[in-house]
């Protein structure tokens, strides 16, 4: 799953689908690439179980498949994100406060 999200284009596609289902051409519209390249990215996302699609007539509609996501993966991604953000803020805090601690902390 994380592999599938490692690519910026696929992240954009998933972010778009988090707002609701979309057709392949709707997904492709904001991306500067060929429709076949978009279809290839979509195949990777479907393979990972993140996204599923359904063809009705000539339109293929895609949506995020929340059911397919195992709870453990969901838990990890949510929790990891939480800590990643904290560690970003920690980096900013350290950069703003360059002085060494005056005394050792109590234990």
């Amino acid at each position: 799953m994380f592999q599938a999200l490692a690519d910026p284009t696929r992240r954009l596609m998933v972010e778009r689908l988090c707002d609701g289902p979309a057709s392949v051409s709707e997904l492709a519209a904001p991306l500067q690439m060929t429709l076949s390249a978009v279809v290839q990215h979509l195949a990777v996302l479907e393979e990972s179980g993140l996204v599923r699609s359904q063809k009705q007539g000539r339109v293929r509609t895609c949506q995020v498949d929340t059911q397919a996501l195992r709870s453990a993966e969901r838990w990890i991604s949510e929790r990891r994100t939480l800590w990643e953000k904290r560690f970003d803020r920690l980096g900013a805090y350290l950069a703003e406060n360059p002085e060494e601690p005056k005394e050792g902390p109590q234990t």
Binding site: F2, L5, A6, P8, R11, L12, V14, E15, C18, D19, V64, T66, L69, S71, A72, R74, W75, I76, S77, E78, R79, R80, T81, W83, E84, K85, R86, F87, D88, R89, L90, G91, A92, Y93, L94, A95, N97, P98, E100, P101, G104, P105, Q106, T107
Partner: protein, 154 residues
């Protein structure tokens, strides 16, 4: 509803900081310093809680979006080695529901130009997680944030 389930998972995060292990450790060791980076996004406002940074001591932090779900963090320090290591267990509540319990190890290792921080979380997430409100929405938000985090990491 009598079905009970627990799932276990482990993940790690590594970061480099251009600061000595003593400085990075200090940012975890006092409530004042920790409040500067640990709490939720700015729009949540300051979190409430307390911190007793010693082995066996507890830390609590409660916050969340205004009028929304209350996120509560309750930790117990299990091991502290100044400037080198902190191990704590913590549970997370969303409103009144306990969603997970974790053991977290943070190692501060000196390396060229600063510190390598190695964070390991071993978690057990509980059935309550699925009962917690706003699940679909929460997941969508989390994915978006994950995208951002990956982008920054790249």
């Amino acid at each position: 509803m009598t079905k009970r389930s627990v799932a276990h998972a482990t993940f790690t995060i590594e970061r480099h900081y251009d600061a000595t292990p003593a400085r990075v450790f200090a940012a975890f060791a006092t409530r004042e310093a920790k409040a500067r980076w640990f709490s939720g996004p700015p729009e949540w406002g300051p979190a409430e809680g307390g911190m007793d940074f010693r082995v066996g001591g507890r830390e609590t932090s409660r916050g969340g979006p205004k009028g929304g779900t209350v996120h509560a963090f309750d930790a117990i320090y299990q091991d502290i080695v100044p400037n080198e290591r902190i191990v704590f267990s913590y549970d997370m509540h969303l409103d009144e529901t306990r969603i997970s319990v974790s053991l977290t190890t943070i190692e501060f290792k000196p390396e060229a130009g600063g510190t390598r921080l190695v964070f390991t979380e071993q978690g057990a997430f509980l059935d309550g997680y699925d009962d917690a409100g706003g699940r679909e929405h929460g997941w969508g938000e989390a994915l978006k944030q994950l995208g951002c985090a990956l982008q920054q990491a790249a």
